[in-house]
Amino acid sequence: MGLTRFKLSKSKSKEVNFKNQYKIALAGNPNVGKSTVFNALTGLNQHTGNWPGKTVTNAEGYCRYNDNKYAIIDLPGTYSLLASSTEEEVARDYLKDNTADCVVIVTDATCMLRNLNLVVQILSITNKVIVCVNLLDEAKKKGIVIDLDELSLQLGVPVIGTAARSKKGLDKLLDAIEKICIGERKCHTVKELIQGIKINSEIPQNERDEILTNINKRCERIYNLCVTNTKNDYTLKDRRFDKLFTSKITGIPIMLLMFGVIFWITITGANYPSQWLSWLFEQIKTYLSAFIEYLNAPDWLYGFLIDGVYTTLTWVIAVMLPPMAIFFPLFSILEDSGYLPRIAFNMDNCFKKCNAHGKQSLTMAMGFGCNACGVIGCRIIDSPRERLIAILTNNFVPCNGRLPTLIAIISMFFAASFFGVLQGIVSTVILLAVILLGIFMTLIVSKFLSNTILKGIPSSFILELPPYRRPQILKTIVRSIFDRTLFVLGRAVIVAIPAGALIWILANVHINDITLLKYCTDFFEPFGKMIGLDGVIVMAFILGFPANEIVVPIILMCYMATGVLTDYSSLTELYTLLINNGWTITTAICTMIMCIFHFPCSTTCITIKKETKSFKWTLLSAFIPTAIGVILCLIINMISLLL
């Protein structure tokens, strides 16, 4: 797997204001706060969240402390070095090569017994180790007391307590890192601790069992010496939550409700900023027009800049940005709370019946943010067969670039006749239904794949359910707006500008008195009509390959270019424009279906190619959803013609 990107010493000679550069590796079980420590040390924004498996690639960053510079590497989470999965193998090889000047093992203070296992294993291959006992704030709340000095004595290495989320204890950690790197503090190897522990993949199973049993015994002894539980029922709260979120009666309804609420807030909340932005852009347009007129620019330039580039660009921002900016943070909050693994837990049986992996629901959840991220996230699935299934079906979840399209169509065609609160609820229910259709198709296709080209029985499903955590609402909102939303928007804008220009050129270059655009849309028209769409929509989906956000703006531009120029400042006017261009309810439904079921965007395709290392699978991942979309639309169109 492409987890090795260590180009660390490149800038060594260029910078002069630090003495030395050291390499620090962050290792540890999944979900103990490695990425949080990493972010706190480097000031970067590596993705964190309360579920095991969100970091699947190495990340690297730099930090300075006193006179030295440190290159910090965030390794993927591992339960053990006796490699059961590919990421773990990578982590093991990295640690084994001794490339790091110091390994910081991040551990979860609330779950030391299991965490110690990995600590002992790492100690047996290197002793330049610091144990960072993280989540101390949470441990305190749960009444878990850890004697850090005793632990340090037992392990023979420095032990630092931290609460990385609130940045407590990090300077002590840096201090310890410095001391190890410059050789001021020597770790000593505790012989009896690591005796007989051999770490490599070729150990026969019976020996491996014995090694692990031994490690376990030793860890238990250390645990009993260093950790005291002052409250016996510290897991009570989590258990109560689990009763609520995963029980037979309430589990599934609460899950639907939770998503419903998120979509509802997104839909209703996006309305106002959308309108406001449209109004703002309209105002700016008047000034811009006046300015261009003042410059005496030729008509075609005005058309190109204002009708072409500006309109598409502002449309992408006004319609696409608000839902994204609301949905992203809401979803991150859900992610931070620890609810996502419960979804996987609830849904696993469905996936098992389709011979797929329960963690597929986690990768689907990531797909809501961005399908490319979802595809990378599939690395958390160990079995290659099940991972491929998850990769091939990830696109059935509408990503953040497609969600606003769905929302816009639903608001115009289905919810417009309702008022007030009801309007929001109707939109939510329809959106939920569309998404459930996507999930349903995911299951069907998974089942189909595992009965045909990806034959096999389900492998085991072993998932850790982390404790619930109170999400940091404000921080999450700020962060997801600044790095995720703006990033997606940036991408959309980059694509929207040339797309707008292209459409304008197509619409204004005439051959035999017919515009190029007309030639193009006429070409797609028969096919489009057959599946309940029209030539413009088909072309928009094809041109939307670089970024799905621009599909609706392209449709709009094409319609406007063919004569019916309207003011586009609100959805009602857009609705009129669409109706004037022959849209019906069937068109709306088919467009929504195509929006969910069509080839992945270019970024996702590239990612699929990278992840599967196969052109064939990439093609298939584009073919399957498109075929489903076309067939579904064909059927819907036929039914509507019969009615």
């Binding site: 006796l82 059961s84 989590d238 499903f461």
Partner: protein, 79 residues
Amino acid sequence: MNSNTLTLREIKSGEKCKVEDLLSKGKARNRLLDLGFVKNSIIEVLQKSPSGDPVAYFVKGCVIALRSEDAENILVREI
């Protein structure tokens, strides 16, 4: 194997048991060992998922969900 050895799947919610042996092989076995399903560790059966499978277990201070196929491969003794 003595007479009161059961598989983990047979243990009811809320009850505790002690691991005797693992029947699974290969990767699944390693993963179970990593997560603390080693001989003599104590497991508490927590919550079933809505469809009854998988089931959540409390082991070594963490909650781990297992499918019934995996739970069947863990031999335990009631305590």
